[in-house]
């Protein structure tokens, strides 16, 4: 890509600057999308990237697309994503630990190889002259698009319409669950419990101590072990059970601290208060 090829067309330094800055942002955003452990973060990063892309559209003279990108994509589709993420579990962080042997390496290999190939392809492609969207956008970008859409691409347009409708219907069909059998009354449920013979009493309530009665904390059984059963099914599946076993000691330690400060005593080795397993560390 030497200069004389592009004699026909060069961009303003302003655009260059904008490209390098925002391009970096976009790439970083993309990488975060891939590597963030929590879906929410991925979604947010992706949104960022998309906004950057919207800016690039604008810079390339695709004003309509730029706006659509922001409004429809970032505004609607990404929100849809977030909505689903919420449904599945906001804080659910899936581990990046690979389960399929060699998958990750293969993936990276393919990715890098593909990228290299694309770069090579673009490099070899003889992309000599650039005639900008100047006269194409002469009488308005939107008008230009519209005239194309409703003349040349009208059939494709209609078909996409049909596609959208089908998609909407399909989504409804997929997500709508028909109730095939009557919902069982509480009496029936209790009877079933008795029949099965496990959890004859109602499930234990979540929460420990007065201060930790949140629904995401496993209640303690008489023998002191936390019981998963006490936490609601959804949270359990999202893996959003908080573990508070350590908190009590920390509070105790803080209490000691404050007491000594008031009594101007030398700090007692907190070690003496460490639990045996901590002492062993």
């Amino acid at each position: 890509m030497t200069a004389q090829h592009l004699a026909a067309y060069t961009t303003s330094t302003g655009e260059a600057f904008q490209f390098w800055v925002l391009g970096t942002v976009a790439v970083v955003g993309a990488l975060c999308t891939v590597f963030m452990r929590r879906a929410v973060h991925s979604a947010l990063c992706l949104a960022g990237t998309m906004i950057v892309l919207a800016v690039f559209y604008l810079a390339n003279g695709a004003y309509f697309l730029g706006i659509v990108q922001i409004v429809v994509y970032t505004g609607a589709i990404m929100m849809l994503f977030l909505f689903v993420v919420m449904l599945v579990g906001v804080t659910a962080a899936d581990s990046l630990k690979e389960t399929i042997k060699g998958q990750r390496w293969l993936a990276l290999l393919c990715g890098i190889g593909f990228g290299v190939l694309l770069f090579a392809g673009i490099g070899n492609a003889s992309l000599t002259e650039f005639n900008g969207t100047g006269q194409a956008n002469a009488n308005g970008n939107v008008e230009g698009l519209a005239s194309l859409i409703f003349t040349k691409y009208v059939f494709a347009f209609e078909i996409t319409g049909a596609l959208l409708i089908t998609a909407a219907v399909g989504a409804m069909v997929l997500t709508h669950r028909e109730r095939t059998e009557r919902a069982r009354t509480q009496r029936e449920l209790s009877e079933q419990r008795v029949r099965e013979g496990k959890h004859v009493p109602p499930l234990p309530a979540p929460g420990v101590y007065a201060r930790h009665n949140a629904v995401d904390i496993a209640g303690l059984l008489p023998d002191g072990t936390p019981s998963e059963l006490t936490v609601s099914k959804t949270l359990r599946e999202r893996g959003q059970i908080r573990d508070v076993s350590a908190e009590a000691l920390n509070d105790l330690r803080a209490l000691e601290q404050r007491a000594e400060e008031r009594l101007e005593r030398t700090a007692i080795e907190p070690a003496t208060f460490k639990r045996p397993e901590e002492a062993s560390k």
Partner: protein
């Protein structure tokens, strides 16, 4: 600078998205990566339309968006129903296609 860089950027984003599809297990994230790939393509289209000085590229990008929207709708619906049935959004859990 030279607008070809937009293409390089697009290629890079596409590759990142693709890799993401391959290494992420969470179906939603996989979907996001797909969206990323689509957007990369859009960027390339737009850049091309700028090169050739006509709007066809933008039109295609537009259609791509529409199709992407449709795809997202259906895909998310699938994810939701999957999650309902097997209480997990991991694509690895849906591995009944093996012999």
């Amino acid at each position: 600078m030279n607008p070809v860089n937009y293409l390089y950027l697009a290629a890079l984003l596409f590759t990142i998205g693709a890799t993401g599809v391959l290494i992420r297990r969470n179906a939603i994230v996989v979907f996001m990566c797909i969206e990323l790939m689509l957007n990369a393509c859009n960027l390339a289209f737009v850049a091309f339309s700028r090169m050739h000085g006509n709007l066809d590229g933008q039109i295609i990008a537009f259609f791509t968006m529409v199709v992407a929207a449709a795809e997202v709708v259906v895909g998310l619906a699938i994810i939701v129903s999957l999650f309902r049935t097997r209480h997990s959004a991991s694509v690895d859990d849906a591995s009944l296609m093996k012999l």
